[in-house]
Amino acid sequence: MFWYLLLLWGGISAVEVQRPRGVPLSKRPFYEENKPFTCLDGSRTIPFDRINDDYCDCQDGSDEPGTAACPNGNFHCTNAGFRPTFIPSSHVNDGICDCCDATDEYNSGAECQNTCRELWRKEKESMQKLAEIAKEGFLLKQQLIQEAKRGLEEKQTKLGEVQNSKKDLETNVEALRTAKEAAEQPEKEAKERHLKAWEEQNAAIRMEKDKVRMAEVFIELDADGDGFVSVAELLSHSEMDPDSSDGSFTEAEAQELLGGVDKVNTAAFETIWSKIREKYVSESNTDGPAPVETPQEEVREPVSDNDSEPYPDDDIPEEEDEDEDEDEDEDMDDGDYKSPPVTRTDEKKDDSEEGAMPPYDQETQNLIDAAQKARNEFEEAERALREVDDQIRNLEKEISFDFGPSSEFAYLYSQCYELTTGEYVYRLCPFNRVSQKPKYGGSETNLGTWGKWAGPEGNVYSVMKYEQGTGCWQGPNRSTTVKLTCGKETVVTSTSEPSRCEYLMEFTSPAVCQEAPDLEVSDIHEEL
């Protein structure tokens, strides 16, 4: 039987308390000397000399408080001068010093020093340090709370203001919209007039050209120069075969083309010109479209090349009609050469032949300018309204954000804190996101965006969770847990990746400081 002599120093006199080894004072009454012992779970009663006899008799281990015999027992370290504690029985006499008073290693040969006083001193020091930090931190926290309160009020005021200004803006936008629409109607009409005049002019020119060409063709077709185009002369132009698929241009077909007669003079030719105009190929072939096409391509080429640079709207004043606009858009789309630009070029032929539309007359131009001004003013007002909307949204978000019980964490909003490690720069932007960037170049990785407060119950504001960062190969999306501890400064003190793609960040802030704990009431077991 191992007896344990505990000396407790109180003032000048020593008090001896005898009890079996490993038993805390509180349980001493259960171990009455020389009386049968009933296991603390009541399961059986054994003679007193079986207590601490290094054999486990009680299922709950209560007969062996001072040995390693029971698998589920506990040994009480008195740790005079420090904090008393229980250790598992399996730590008794295992050669490893666990109790600071060295009482657990009484028979293992391990040379344990009594380190209780030293531990106490150190703990006291560090607790004092912590207490100081907590104290200062707590003061800072009060300021933060005040600031947050002020900030909140300011924001609410601001929100009110902005909401008011929004009303004005809305009215303004409506007024400008009406003005714009009013200015655009005469503009549209004037532009249509202008366009129509130009198109009529073009039509007249086209007709004139056609006549000239008809005369030329007549002369060309009239090979014998007799003033008539005959069936025979027509047959030499096989392209005019009306059913070109059969490959033979017969006399009957030619005759039909000439309106059922054998030959026509210039006047009669006019009636058939419209039938052959499209098909006819000049023998000299000098006026084909090819020469025109090439310079056109050159002109257009840089446009399609330059697809990275969007067309600045301002560069195209509204002097072209809508068809033109569509055409331009198509150009931009085709910029990557996926389709050859040929068809487009063909479409352009007529325009180029007829030249650009003449500039607007002064009256029309004035209307356009006025409409443009109204449009600009309207858009400007709309933009301003959108900005105000954003501002309201942001303010509302910030005001409703959970910044802690007294909004003490509000100061972290829209701030960022960095920590540089061997390889990476870590960046914590509270309530927004966490990221990691390689120190020596490379792109930033999102380690999670703001999720929620995730501390344990009763201390919810001690842990932040950032979730849904960049995905990991064959793994989850990255996420970060930020643990907050009390500190005077607001800093990221460490980062780690305890498990792949799950990051842990330690962060100090005065906002988590609690009122300084009272050292005297801590469970430190100082001299009695």
Binding site: Y55, A68, A69, P71, S90, D94, I96, S108, S496, C501
Partner: protein, 930 residues
């Protein structure tokens, strides 16, 4: 750890990246050759059974006392072979066949046999022009050498035990000059050569030049094959045999399958990424040993060849149903069952050891006499190992270590994978994460715990790296075919591969483990050799080019030996650093015959899947059969994440397998035992603690394995060789002969059916002490806490029930003896004690006692009276299972002193617990129940 799975690490390696991105969870089979893609295998397998072209030239026979030599001639090409036949001590026959006059020497595997096997005299019983009959001495065993066609039959009485070349599949590709280059042997222009030699197939020679003989490509890799074809092959017939085992490492059933309808079993050490189960593909290690068994006899074939090897198995009963077999039996019309086996190797010679048993244990001792036994590990290494790729830094290590104490879970080793190094430079530490390794190691040592750090054989090519510079300057690297240092991609990027086949390289490597060379190391730091197949990320089949050069040999010749040499050199380093005092612990992934001498192996990069848990049993059982007892699988599964249920079941299984280590891939969430809620933590704690209570038994079994070569984890048929019901069992196993374990390996299991072997046996549930009769299928309802484990009636198992933080903390603790009585009310067992970590046991510093119970007396007697050792441990309790209640229990100590002991008797389960006899475990004593 680790196949090449980490994309971010090897951005340069395009092939690898592609593999990563594919992101599938199965082996990419196209990375590994089928027999058809391995030209020699295809060539040899094209040969069908028939009359052998080989003829024994009896007139060339020479017989000395111990050796018979005889020339064989191939009548097709007139090439002569030399047959050597030895009768070895311990009922073995060795058959060696080489070319009589090879163009240049052919590789004969060195360093695997522990010594030149001692021979016994051979004598000629009779001889005529048809052949020779030789006596093998024992039990009227004879070898019959038939001349034409050549074949060998080993017979006992009227029974043929084994025949060689009976199917005429002996093939020996003799070394030859390359015809197209004969004129100008210097010209090595391959493109020319190719076209030339194809044009030139019509010469006088009988053998065609086939594609792949002189050059072969696989995917983008080309093998220059300067020596041309060099394969060897031989068939073995095993009459009366329906069960064959061994030839690990394959993720397959214990009983080998026939290979007629697929590829042969392949032996070629490979780093297989996310291997598939139940197929014959090669894995990380190779032991070319096959066991054949029937109710009468066990035999073994040890094919000593380190080149790529394929093994075909066919059987005349395969595919027959039980009913069909029964019909054959009833009608008496059937042929005898027979298994035919064929070995094909790419180079080297035929050197085969035929082990004739007759019992399984004879086979173990026969094989052990050739290649040695399991090294006797430090006791601590039988505890629990906590591993992960990777523990991030010293703080991480410290907090995991503290977590074990906080949750009262014992462990002995914490492991560091590749990330602990400074840029994958082995023997170094990451200067930021592991800035003061000695502080970390001391912290563990203070708790009597240990660490393992990885040291892989690929060496970063970096002129600022001492290890690389030394290896390069000493010329220790493997060379490429052009004579330069061979380089390949592995974890560090570009890496060289030391030539571990060279003894001076190994000696240098070993010296790198000395405390002054390996900075930051201490005596509680041990080593793990991974990637030693060797793994070469950008090599053919993720390994080294076969035409790489090791001294005068090609990598082709030595491939399967490389890992063994790495393991050996490392182990020797750990022994030397302590001046030969301390036992080493080294884990390896690649292995070969003989690797058991160097430490532990594990089954590589498995996955967190139920089938992977199941396969861990046959995989380790197969290794145990061929001498490698110290086997385990990554608990929890390396790839992927286990469900808590799978993790718990895996701990419950792993705790009853020899090497007990949890491991996890870098990309998986953390899974330390306490991360799955209090219930699962308690379940895992309980099973790890069970492991620790059985450590004395595990230790004693490893001592036996070291002495005898008997496996620690045993297939049931090994102990019940006459009961065919045990022959294919691989969902349960024995530890030693006294513990039967049937782990729960089914998801959501409500019960398991365990087969309890032995007509005469009784088995006691180790948890409830309930008794069950043998020779029955027992349905056991299970809950999550159930691990069906039974102690055999007739056995005594010493345990230590005071589980502490680590095995070393339990050193002086007392024993509880669990005495399980059989139907004859007897039991016996052993108690082995030594210091647990030094070689002093070799100097007789140990306690070895026999414990036996008969006539109601339990006694401890010294079976090693010449040995000296003292222990502080004592006997605190004796638990007798299947007992009746005594009137009194008397202890008689060595000095004759008698004392009465207290006891409890639980009549409901007939368990007698004798309280605190208190005698020292090393003393003589007896205890009488009256």
């Amino acid at each position: 750890m680790a196949t090449f799975t980490e994309c971010r690490m090897v951005p340069v390696l395009v092939v690898w990246l592609a593999l990563c991105l594919s992101g599938t969870w199965a082996v990419d089979r196209s990375n590994f050759k089928t027999c058809d893609q391995s030209s020699f295998c295809k060539r040899q397998r094209a040969l069908k059974p028939g009359e052998s072209p080989y003829r024994a030239l009896l007139e060339t026979m020479e017989l000395t006392n111990t050796r018979l030599t005889l020339q064989l001639i191939n009548d097709n090409n007139k090439v002569r072979l030399l047959l050597e036949l030895y009768r070895l001590q311990g009922n073995m026959t060795r058959v060696k066949i080489n070319e009589l006059k090879p163009l240049k020497p052919r590789y004969e595997v060195p360093d695997v046999l522990v010594r030149e096997p001692p021979t016994e005299p051979l004598s000629v019983l009779s001889q005529d022009e048809n052949g020779v009959v030789l006596s093998l001495g024992v039990e009227s065993q004879r070898v019959i050498v038939s001349a034409q066609p050549f074949r060998l039959d080993i017979v006992e009485g009227h029974n043929v035990l084994m025949s060689l070349n009976s199917r005429g599949l002996l093939a020996f590709e003799h070394l030859r000059m390359r015809k197209d280059t004969q004129a100008e042997p210097e010209a090595e222009n391959k493109e020319e050569a190719d076209t030339a030699h194809q044009a030139e197939t019509t010469k006088e020679e009988e053998e065609k030049v086939e594609e792949g003989m002189w050059e072969e490509t696989f995917k983008s890799h080309s093998d220059s094959k300067p020596n041309g074809p060099s394969a060897v092959s031989l068939d073995f017939s095993l009459p009366g045999v329906e069960h064959v085992y061994g030839i690990p490492e394959h993720a397959d059933t214990l009983r080998l399958k026939t290979t007629d309808n697929g590829d042969p079993y392949r032996l070629y050490n490979l780093d297989v990424f996310q291997y598939e189960l139940y197929n014959p593909m090669a894995l990380y290690g190779a032991v070319p040993v096959m066991l054949a068994h029937n109710t009468q006899r066990t035999t073994g074939i040890f094919w000593l060849n380190a080149a790529e090897t394929w093994v075909d198995i066919s059987s005349n009963t395969a595919g027959k149903t039980v009913f069909g077999k029964m019909l054959d039996y009833v009608q008496g019309s059937s042929e005898t069952p027979q298994t035919d086996v064929r070995w094909i190797s790419e180079s080297g010679i035929i050197d085969v050891f035929i082990m004739l048993g007759p019992t399984p244990k004879d086979i173990f001792s026969q094989y052990a006499s050739l290649t040695g036994t399991q090294s006797f590990p430090p006791l601590s290494s039988l505890g629990y190992h906590q591993c992960r790729w990777n523990y991030n830094d010293q703080e991480d290590v410290r907090s995991v270590d503290a977590g074990f104490d906080e949750h009262d879970i014992p462990y002995d080793f914490i492991w560091l994978d590749i990330e602990h190094t400074d840029g994958k430079r082995y023997f170094t530490w990451d200067p930021h994460k592991f800035a003061s390794p000695k502080d970390m190691l001391q912290g563990l040592k203070d708790k009597k715990r240990n660490m393992v750090a990885i040291v892989d054989p690929h060496i970063k090519v970096d002129s600022n790296y001492k290890i690389h510079n030394e290896i390069r300057s000493r010329g220790f690297y493997v060379k490429n075919k052009d004579g330069g240092d061979y380089e390949g991609w592995c974890w560090p990027g570009n890496a060289g591969y030391p030539d571990f086949t060279q003894p001076d390289m190994r000696a240098w490597w070993a010296s790198m483990f000395s405390y002054d060379q390996y900075e930051g190391s201490m005596d509680n730091l041990y080593t793990w050799n991974d990637m030693n197949e060797p793994s070469v990320f950008n090599g053919p089949e993720v390994t080294m080019h076969k035409d790489a050069v090791h001294g005068s040999w090609e990598h082709r010749d030595v491939h399967n030996l490389y890992g063994l040499y790495v393991h050996r050199a490392t182990m020797e380093g750990l022994i030397q650093r302590s001046g030969g005092v301390e036992r080493p612990f080294v884990l390896t992934r690649a292995f070969f015959a003989g690797s058991q001498r160097y430490g532990a192996v594990w089954t590589g990069d498995n996955a967190a899947e139920w089938d992977h848990l199941k396969i861990s049993i046959p995989m380790c059982l197969s290794l145990g059969l061929v001498g490698i007892s110290f086997c385990g699988a990554d608990v929890g599964g390396f790839f992927k994440s286990p469900s808590p249920e799978l993790l718990v079941r895996w701990y419950q299984t792993g705790a009853y397998q020899p090497f007990f280590r949890a491991h996890a891939h870098l990309d998986t969430p953390r899974r330390e035992p306490w991360l799955f809620g209090p219930e699962n933590t308690a379940l895992i704690r309980e099973v790890i603690r069970q492991r620790y209570t059985f450590l004395p038994y595990w230790y004693q079994l490893f001592y036996h394995a070291y002495r005898t070569g008997e496996p620690v984890m045993r297939a049931l048929w090994v102990e019940y060789p006459q009961d065919p019901a045990t022959f294919a069992v691989d969902d349960e196993f024995l530890i030693g002969r006294d513990l039967l374990v049937h782990p729960v390996t089914e998801e959501g299991a409500r019960g398991v059916t365990a087969f309890l072997p032995g007509k005469e046996e009784v088995w006691f549930d180790i948890h409830t002490f309930q008794k069950h009769n043998g020779a029955q299928n027992l349905y056991i309802p299970v809950t999550m806490s159930s691990i069906p484990v039974f102690q055999r009636g007739g056995s005594i198992i010493p345990r230590k029930l005071r589980v502490r933080r680590s095995s070393a903390c339990m050193e002086h603790d007392p024993y509880t003896l669990f005495v399980a009585l059989n139907t004859r009310r007897t039991a016996e067992g052993e108690l082995y004690i030594d210091d647990g970590h030094t070689f002093n046991f070799d100097n007789k510093e140990f306690i070895h006692r026999r414990l036996f119970f008969s006539n109601n007396v339990l006694s401890s007697v010294n079976v090693a009276p010449e040995a000296q050792f003292t222990t502080k441990s004592w006997i605190e309790r004796v638990v007798i299972l299947g007992a009746s209640k005594p009137r009194k229990v008397t202890l008689i100590t060595a000095d004759g002193h008698k004392s009465q002991l207290d006891f409890d008797f639980d009549a409901s389960v007939s368990v007698l617990t004798i309280r605190k006899p208190s005698m020292n475990a090393g003393e003589d004593w007896s205890m009488a129940l009256q």
